[in-house]
Symmetry: C2
Subunit: 197 residues, 2 copies
């Protein structure tokens, strides 16, 4: 017998399939096509597992993994906003809040609330767990851009300052990887993947 509770959970599981059709600006590492937010979320959850040792003290890795999995669900309604799109980012917060209410609202009440709190925590970037998850969310597309010899940076004419600003949360979110990022930015400039200014 399919209870109301199970039915709500299944409707949520069916609804979130749409995230596989939300395209990001990021290219796959083989540059064959743009990445979607479903597979991006998988990659991020994998990074949470593999890079757990670089998390700041007090990080709950299970929680960070769940955050990685759910962090982009709001894009089903709000779409993916390119991180360097100034205008799009002004309306982003409002659009995403509405999306969170609808999408997490599909679940049984207490379960939806639990996921919403997790998403709120991710967005607020105040706890070590959220800071770690946010840092990895910056590092993942950074690696793609480095591996595709500039990828989206070249397409959108992005420069060092913009990347530095975008990557700033890494310093606090996973301080042990900050030097690696700084070095790689220099390498990318030297290789011509990223403009100096």
């Amino acid at each position: 017998m399919q209870t109301i509770r199970l039915n709500q959970q299944l409707q949520f599981i069916i609804e979130i399939d749409k995230l596989k059709n939300v395209l990001r600006q990021t290219l796959l590492i083989d540059a064959s096509r743009r990445e979607n937010s479903g597979e991006h979320s998988w990659h991020l959850a994998m990074m949470t597992m593999i890079l757990a040792e670089y998390a700041p003290e007090g990080t709950d890795i299970f929680c960070a993994m769940k955050m990685s999995l759910i962090h982009d669900l709001v894009e089903i309604d709000a779409g993916d906003t390119f991180c360097y799109d100034v205008e799009g980012n002004e309306s982003k917060a409002q659009r995403e809040l509405q999306a969170a209410t609808r999408i997490f609202g599909l679940l049984p009440q207490e379960q939806g609330k639990e996921l919403r709190l997790l998403w709120d925590e991710f967005e607020a970037r105040e706890t070590p767990t959220a800071k770690f998850a946010a840092a990895l969310d910056r590092i993942q597309p950074f690696l793609h851009n480095q591996q595709t010899e500039g990828g989206t940076w070249r397409i959108h004419n992005i420069n060092r300052n913009q990347v530095m600003q975008r990557m700033a949360p890494v310093e606090e979110g996973t301080p042990k990887l900050w030097n690696f990022i700084l070095e790689e930015i220099e390498n990318c400039i030297n290789e011509g993947y990223l403009k100096n200014s």
Copy 2:
């Protein structure tokens, strides 16, 4: 400074991007295209979180989630074998073992071993955690086939007996959902999504 350890971890993270290009037989729920194994793994990890309450006693949900994330990595080398392809499934085990050795072998030794043990546990389907993860791995494409009015079942002329055999691990892996599956199989037959014999 990029240590050897970090370098191995990054090479693994870059390598697994290839899972986003491994196509499964399953269609997305909007039937627009075939699903890839990266986004499938994300969907499965989400189901692990949402359906945790239906896991058998003794299941470690964090572990089941990690299993969901890594269970298909071997397909990067071995490809996705359609579950109803008898010939392909005869050589599958050997191809996947070789792939596991190479892919988990990219990681620092003890980390690669940890993931390999997790994958071995998933494949053996002996622990409650592995049984739960395997059951969800059957339910996910089942939902896609139901939602796409027969999807891959129709394309490949699959019948009730084949689906019953394929879904059998659900009975033990998440017994609380077994009745739902049995009912849905009947519904799919009544709707003409699945052949009776």
